[in-house]
Amino acid sequence: MTELTLVQAVNRGLQQAMRDDGDVLVLGEDVGLNGGVFRATEGLLKEFGEERVLDTPLSETGIIGTAIGMALYGLKPVAEIQFLDFIYPAFDQIVSELAKFRYRSGGQYPCHVVIRSPYGGGIKGGLYHSQSTEAYFCHTAGLKVVIPSTPADAKGLLLTAIHDEDPVMFLEPKRIYRSVTGEVPDGDERVPFGRARLVREGTDVSVFAYGAMIPVVTEAANALAAEGISSEVIDLRTLVPLDEAAILASVEKTGRAVVVHEAARFCGFGGELAALLAEKAFFSLKAPVTRVTGYDTPFPYALENLYLPNVERVSHAVRTTARAG
């Protein structure tokens, strides 16, 4: 066990996988000499050389297209997209190619690429260094979507991603890259996909979140406990595959649900979660499912703090949901 920040845990995960498996390589903008703009790939060039740590030209199309070709051949490329906001030049390769290779070839061509990308707000990054567009990827059949919120999960889920057989979108909440620290197992300890993490047990309301919203939601839950409201906080961790069993079990117990994410509300992940509950937990629900999310505007700069769900908004929503019905 070592105490690490979240971004350090990502770094250790990459290092671990590269040490254990010569097929693993990383590519992206500024990932080599510079060690990544967030230092997630620090030290890798030195240890593994230019053949396994590729500083690429400024083309996300090229990064992902090249990674796909490598994966088809049998390597395990881990591509870094510098900010999730800059992934769109590669969207065609991701949606049309990466997600569909196995399917369209009848299973002949698995295509296992891990795409790592810092995402989310809270760093005063304005429209183009803040967005949370996980819903695009969740809606794309053939992609797994993983979002850690702790250092241990960052490393453990990344190792699982790298050794998985399918394409994985690995979205890293950059806002808590350094603000969150924790004990991380040394070695190749993997955290399985498809299992939510119970952050806090509770009986009155189930609160579902992921990424940088976990500390916010946890703080809110702690504050509400003092008011006598017992919230169960669940970190979804992998949106695809989703741990529906854990979600439904919690709501069957509490009868109330709040879902929190940074992304815009309309057609966001929270919509899916609410729909799921409306379908499968309809007769357990004692109150409407509440969504606490970003607004349906582009991501702002000056007003970022008012756009993002914060402890107060979450607390307010949980309180209201606990009393509704």
Partner: protein, 360 residues
């Protein structure tokens, strides 16, 4: 660095013997004939409703088969959707293709794609998709992977004149130049991207010279000349394999037929243009040379055509007798292992099937 810029002249075809023996040439010619016979039959089948769609390759056989025969078995092919000649030259059985055209249970792809969008791992022929150009960057990645593994493998991307405008063309050639990837970029400039003529696709004098922008050579070759193509690709393969990096080849050809069975080329191009190019029919040119070299005569040629047509009929017959794909396969291969959600959706689907709500 561009070599031979300008339009390929309709000059006399390169004689055999340069790179291809008479025997090899005859073998190549046989594949060209088989490709043409397949094309002709498939256009009819589509009209009869026996296959749903078709993309003809007629006119491009010399480019495709000349290129394919310059490759090694271990090389990786990244095709577009019009590479029938390449597939056949790589050894893909005609029957496998007909299973794919029909999309039945004999199709290795499990009926997942439209006709012509096939791929066969066994033949290192990567599965095609429709979005234009995407295979170009992928070919570069596979080449880098092969180099990392120290495999003596070259990759080749096939694409059209229209694809030179795509994002992946730019990114793929740029990455290949930077990393000196062992990749061949083989552009079949068939003069049209559906209804857009080559001159309106880009304002450069040739497509080949676009390679300059990425710091490696581009060559123009007469794509109706089997031998010229074979030589150009052999040279490019040698460069790639010996660490000298990528080459862009522009093979100037013509698409004799419609873009696809959904297209009506009379809306945008003149019959005289088609007629002009038909004079340079690659099959006619190869045949004349083979006859000149004494390897072929009219009677043998006729026999060869009959054999090809019979082969097509046999493959078709077998494919049409094969059962359709199983409904449940709809849910396979999304992931290596289905997610709980897919398991649940499949169970729902099976229930609907069992209750007769939906019918196979």
């Amino acid at each position: 660095m561009t070599q031979d810029p300008g339009r390929a002249a309709p000059a006399a075809a390169t004689p055999p013997g340069e790179g291809l023996s008479n025997e090899e040439t005859l073998a190549a010619y046989r594949v060209m004939v088989l490709a043409r016979a397949t094309d002709e039959r498939c256009l009819t089948l589509q009209r009869q409703g026996r296959i749903g769609f078709y993309v003809p390759a007629s006119g491009q056989e010399a480019a495709q088969i000349g290129a394919a025969r310059a490759l090694h078995a271990e090389d990786w092919v990244f095709p577009a959707y019009r590479e029938l000649g390449v597939a056949l030259a790589r050894g893909v059985p005609l029957e496998a293709l007909f299973h794919q055209f029909i999309g039945n249970s004999g199709d290795v792809l499990k009926g997942r794609q439209m006709p012509n969008h096939y791929g066969y791992r066994e033949f290192r022929f990567v599965v095609a998709s429709s979005p234009i150009g995407t295979q170009i960057t992928q070919a570069v990645g596979a080449a880098l992977a092969a180099r990392r593994r120290k495999d003596p493998v070259v990759t080749i991307a096939f694409f059209g004149d229209g694809a030179t405008s795509s994002n992946d063309f730019h990114a793929g050639l740029n990455f290949a130049g930077v990393y000196r990837a062992p990749t061949i970029f083989f552009c079949q400039n068939n003069q049209w991207a559906i209804s857009l003529p080559r001159e309106k696709q880009t304002h450069s004098a040739t497509l080949a010279e676009k390679a300059n922008a990425y710091g490696f050579p581009g060559v123009v070759v007469d794509g109706t000349d089997l031998f010229a193509v074979h030589r150009a690709v052999s040279d490019a393969r040698r460069r790639a394999a010996s660490g000298q990096g990528p080459t862009l080849i522009e093979a100037q050809v013509y698409r004799f037929g419609p873009h696809s069975t959904s297209d009506d080329p009379r809306r945008y191009r003149a019959d005289t243009e088609v007629a002009h190019w038909k004079e340079m029919d690659p099959i006619k040119r190869a045949k004349e040379l083979l006859i000149g070299a004494g390897v072929l005569d009219e009677a043998r040629d006729t026999a060869l055509w009959e054999e090809a047509r019979a082969q097509v009929s046999r493959a078709l017959e077998s494919a049409e007798k094969t059962s359709p794909v199983e409904p449940g396969t709809l849910f396979d291969d999304v992931f290596a292992e289905p997610t709980p959600r897919l398991v649940e959706e499949r169970a729902e689907f099976d229930r609907l099937l069992a209750e007769g709500v939906i019918k196979p």
